[in-house]
């Protein structure tokens, strides 16, 4: 038994490409799986601990009347209530900080580095800003003319996803342009005369509805927002849920495909040794001894790959988490690889590879040794398919290539599997890119205004210019979703709605955006029952058309109709859209929004996203290269004797390459094609799951351009792997066929 073991390192050495390639492939797949899952678990655990430690609010509200006896009300209703004041401060360099006062009971800032504020000239800086702008502790910052020393970095739970505005364009986080800061209440007093004040409530029993009723009865509510409908919270959770589905499904698919590929490749290596195994069995080795032998190399490959993979993810956990939390402001309480995930990563490859190889070996060794010793790796007698095709016509080389392809059908299947794995990964990157692209372009392409002014009251005359429109919020009957209805004049040019065909939809229709249609399951012709948010009055509308806007859940209709619903004069307006900035007196403006800012934010975020996707693509190419190389190398190994013999007979290397390797391109193409529907269905499921709770939808797009680019990358990868296989064809010695006639 000991002597036989000496074979293994030598086999490994003479098949280095195969061994190291397999180990690397397992390593990458394990690392991807373990890292993404660990990331998810760590962030999930950190988030729930953050919510607990920071005593996250149940809701934000504005009372109509002041509380008479707040303490009594709180203890009576089982609520904690706290007021929080804030002010926005522009910091040189394009950054705006939303400065909060330090709270005591609800939405406590959790310090992630440094310490809490003690003096009135100290401040906490938001974690995302500190990371993005690399602000060191101890920096002095000027806020509204007063200087503060940054004594710590912090996260605030209702700004877990710290965005400036919660409108449609605000969903993209730009930590270089906006962030939070915390100062003492006394310091806030000195910063601003009339700060913006919000009230926050935390229901001790978690019953938010009861809290709202209690507040509505006691002080009346002018504003109410559950934490569950606060985008600064839900966008973080939605992204995490999205990450969750990605983390659990995509890498698992990859880990499984990789294990399967490895198992299949190793199984074929066992089959290639049938002659040797037959000999050893004839010499008196038992099937059990030989099977154990054959398991050794696959087990070493699988386990060293997975051990290295898990190790790599343990080592990269910190930087990865730090990268992730630069997109959410969540303190990292947990930064470890959970043992369960690590265990799955460690065990999965072995779990698949060992039984698969054992099965192949046991079945092979079930045959009498004489039979094993007689035939070479692949049956040299023509099979049924081969005979039925009557391969007698055409040149010998073509016939040989055809025969090699038919005999190696399972090998081609394997190649297809490899191509599918690689294609899936590549296209995943492509689909993400295209989908984000559609989202972003959809959000801005047909938006021809840069400024939106909401007016304090409806007007009839417009001396300021721009396009006068009407806007009003509506709520679904179940109260779950509130969105803006926009009334456009018949002459509107600044906001264009487009059908999926790309054609502009005339403004005399009732149009819902795709984002809204997807959420409410609307089709053209559907009826839509709504409450007018301000008055509660119920209205019913019939949907005429759906516009391809994925970012905003919204409703667009003729201005006079909207005015009719609102009960305002049919020619009145309460908002102005404009391409340029307008000089409207401040007392008439409720709110001014600039789309240009949002656009800049989008751009600054899209760049790193593309970089990330580029990273995924590199990863994909590497796995693809490994997968394809393993299979092409196998092809050469299996045809070794034939190749050697044909060399003796005087065949040129190019002819041999063509004969042995040419059939693979079909399998690679087929595998790539199959990965397209596989990807589209799995990504579609992922996107729907991710965005079901938030106000925008992600379109699933895979453009022909992306498919072509992925196909080209794939083909290039395959050609590179062929190059490696070619040098193997070249290295097959002629003596192989002559000396060891049947070896």
């Amino acid at each position: 038994m000991n002597t036989l073991l000496k074979r293994l390192p030598r086999t490994a050495r003479s098949n280095q490409w195969l061994v190291y390639g397999s180990i690397t492939m397992v390593l990458l797949a394990c690392m991807l799986y373990v890292s993404l899952n660990a990331l998810l678990v760590d962030i999930g655990q950190s988030r729930s601990r953050f919510e607990r430690d920071s005593r996250i609010e149940s809701a934000t509200f504005l009372p109509q009347r002041p509380f008479t006896d707040l303490a009594a009300f709180e203890s009576d209703r089982g609520l904690t209530i706290e007021r929080r004041r804030e002010v926005d401060a522009a910091v040189p360099g394009g950054l705006t900080l939303r400065v909060f006062e330090q709270t005591e009971h609800i939405d406590l800032p959790v310090v992630t580095a440094g310490r809490e504020v003690q003096a009135d000239d100290e401040m906490l800086l938001g974690q995302t800003v500190a990371t993005a702008l690399k602000v060191p502790l101890g920096t002095t910052m000027a806020l509204l003319g007063r200087s503060f020393t940054v004594v710590g970095f912090a996260s605030v739970p209702d700004y877990m996803y710290p965005i400036r505005t919660t409108d449609d364009a605000g969903i993209i986080l730009d930590p270089r342009a906006f962030g939070i800061a915390v100062v003492t209440p006394a310091a806030l007093d000195t910063l601003v005369q009339v700060p913006l004040t919000t009230w926050h409530v935390r229901a001790i029993d978690g019953n938010t509805d009861k809290a709202r009723q209690a507040l509505a009865e006691t002080v009346g509510l002018t504003y109410w927002q559950d934490i569950g409908s606060n985008p600064r919270y839900t966008l973080a959770t939605a992204k995490l849920e999205g990450a969750a589905s990605v983390s659990t499904s995509m890498p698992l698919v990859i880990l499984l495909l990789t294990s399967l590929l490895l198992a299949a490749a190793q199984g074929r290596i066992v089959r290639m040794q049938r002659n040797q195994l037959g000999t050893l069995k004839a010499l008196g080795y038992s099937t059990r001894e030989l099977v154990l032998q054959e398991l050794f190399l696959p087990a070493v490959i699988a386990s060293s790959g997975s051990v290295l993979g898990v190790l790599a993810s343990v080592l990269t956990m910190r930087p990865l988490l730090n990268f992730m939390v630069s997109y959410f402001s969540i303190p990292l309480y947990v930064a470890t690889v959970p043992w369960k995930t690590a265990l799955i990563g460690l065990v999965a490859p072995i779990f698949f590879v060992v039984p698969a190889v054992a099965l192949v070996a046991v079945r092979l060794l079930g045959q009498p040794p004489a039979k094993l010793m007689q035939t070479t790796a692949i049956s040299t007698r023509p099979g049924l398919l081969e005979r039925s095709l009557h391969l007698t016509r055409g040149s010998f080389q073509n016939r040989f290539a055809m025969r090699a392809a038919i005999r190696g059908l399972t090998r081609l299947g394997l190649l297809m599997l490899g191509a599918m794995l690689a294609g899936y990964l590549l296209l995943f990157g492509g689909a993400m890119r295209d989908s984000m692209d559609t989202l972003v372009r959809g959000a801005f392409k047909d938006v021809r205004f840069n400024y939106t002014y909401l007016l304090t009251a409806p007007q009839l005359e417009n001396p300021w210019g721009g396009e006068a429109i009407t806007m009003a919020p509506f709520t679904t009957i179940d109260g779950k979703l509130t969105f803006q209805a926009t009334g456009l004049p018949a002459t509107s040019t600044l906001l264009v709605s487009r059908a999926s065909s790309g054609a502009a939809i005339p403004v005399d229709r009732i149009i819902v955006t795709r984002a809204l249609a997807l959420k409410l399951g609307l089709q053209p012709g559907s009826t839509l029952a709504l409450h007018q948010s301000a008055t509660g009055q119920e209205v019913t509308l019939t949907v005429d058309a759906i516009s391809e806007s994925y970012t905003t859940a919204g409703l667009i209709m003729p201005q006079d109709r909207l005015n009719g619903l609102l009960g305002t004069p049919s020619a009145s307006f309460n908002a102005i859209l404009s391409a340029t900035s307008l000089a409207i007196p401040a007392r008439d403006v409720l709110m001014a929004l600039s789309t240009a800012e949002s656009r800049a934010a989008f751009d600054s975020v899209i760049a790193p996203l593309y970089a990330t996707l580029g990273g995924v693509a590199v990863f994909a190419v590497f796995i693809a290269l490994m997968a394809l190389s393993i299979v092409t190398t196998l092809a050469v190994e299996e045809e070794r004797i034939t190749i050697s013999l044909l060399k003796v007979l005087g065949y040129q290397p190019e002819e041999l390459n063509r004969m042995v390797l040419s059939s693979g391109i079909v399998a690679v193409t087929a595998g790539f094609m199959l990965s397209i529907p596989l990807l589209l269905t799995s990504v579609a499921r992922l996107f729907t799951k991710t965005t079901s709770s938030i106000s925008f939808s992600l379109p699933i797009r895979l453009s022909p351009l992306s498919i072509v680019v992925c196909a080209v990358i794939m083909l290039a990868t395959y050609l590179v792997s062929l190059r490696a296989a070619r040098s193997k064809v070249q290295s097959v010695g002629m003596a192989v066929s002559l000396k060891t006639a049947r070896e």
């Binding site: 038994m1 000991n2 002597t3 036989l4 000496k6 074979r7 030598r10 086999t11 003479s14 002659n275 040797q276 037959g278 000999t279 050893l280 069995k281 004839a282 010499l283 008196g284 080795y285 038992s286 099937t287 009498p368 040794p369 004489a370 039979k371 010793m373 003596a735 000396k739 060891t740 006639a741 049947r742 070896e743």
Partner: protein, 232 residues
């Protein structure tokens, strides 16, 4: 009797019909006998040898070797039989390519209780100088000798050799034959040789001749010549 074959047949599937490579072979070989199987190419010599050695199964009849009915033995017993009783020299050598000469011999020595010293066996077949070479670095004849050493090192009760001298030069063949006789005499090993060289038959106790899978002739010859006298 060490070997007892009774009505043994071996059938191969050939396209639509069957084809019997071995038909109704009945014979017995006593312990210590040195037997030659002769016959033209394709007559079933290897098939017979494989069945006796327990590496192929008969489709008809019974095969008893060393007291075991190997035609009906369990996989486990059959492995034990191959391991303990048989030394096989294969027609196509079948060396393990990534083990050295020494290791190829060691591989079988490892699995038996009382093996002969490897160095002695290598010396006897004249391979001492090549002990650390790999099979791909040997000539055909040298590989054949490794194959023989691998069978002999087990000191088996039954030594089977298929076309042993087929690819050896004259001098080497004679050395090998002399070695076989020596083993047979020293250890009382039963030796069955497959060859198509009738001259070799004359140095053994008995000749069995096959034709188209059937027993054509079975006669005792009684070692007419010594190994040195075999000619080609």
């Amino acid at each position: 009797m060490l070997i007892q074959l009774n009505g043994v047949g071996r059938r191969y599937q050939m396209g639509q019909g069957d084809f019997w490579a071995l038909k109704d072979v009945t014979l017995s070989i006593p312990e210590g006998q040195m037997v030659t199987i002769l016959g033209p190419s394709g007559s079933g010599k290897s098939t017979l040898l494989n069945i006796v050695g327990g590496i192929d199964r008969a489709d008809a009849g019974t095969v008893r070797v060393a007291g075991i009915d190997i035609s009906h033995a369990s996989e486990r017993d059959l492995t034990q039989f191959r391991r303990a009783t048989v030394g096989f020299v294969f027609q196509f050598f079948n060396l393990i390519p990534n083990l050295t000469v020494h290791e190829n011999v060691e591989v079988t020595a490892d699995i038996v209780k009382k093996s002969l010293p490897i160095a002695e066996v290598l010396d006897a077949v004249g391979l001492t100088a090549l002990a650390n070479r790999f099979p791909s670095e040997l000539s055909g004849g040298e590989q054949q000798r490794v194959s023989l050493a691998r069978a002999v090192v087990k000191n088996p009760a039954l030594l089977l050799a298929d076309e042993l001298t087929g690819s050896l030069d004259f001098a080497t063949s004679r050395d090998i034959l002399r070695l076989l006789v020596q083993i047979n005499e020293t250890y009382h090993t039963t030796v069955v040789l497959v060859t198509h060289n009738a001259a070799i038959a004359d140095m053994t106790d008995r000749v069995i001749r096959l034709r188209s899978g059937e027993l054509e002739e079975d006669r005792l010859v009684g070692r007419l010549i010594k190994a040195e006298e075999v000619t080609w």
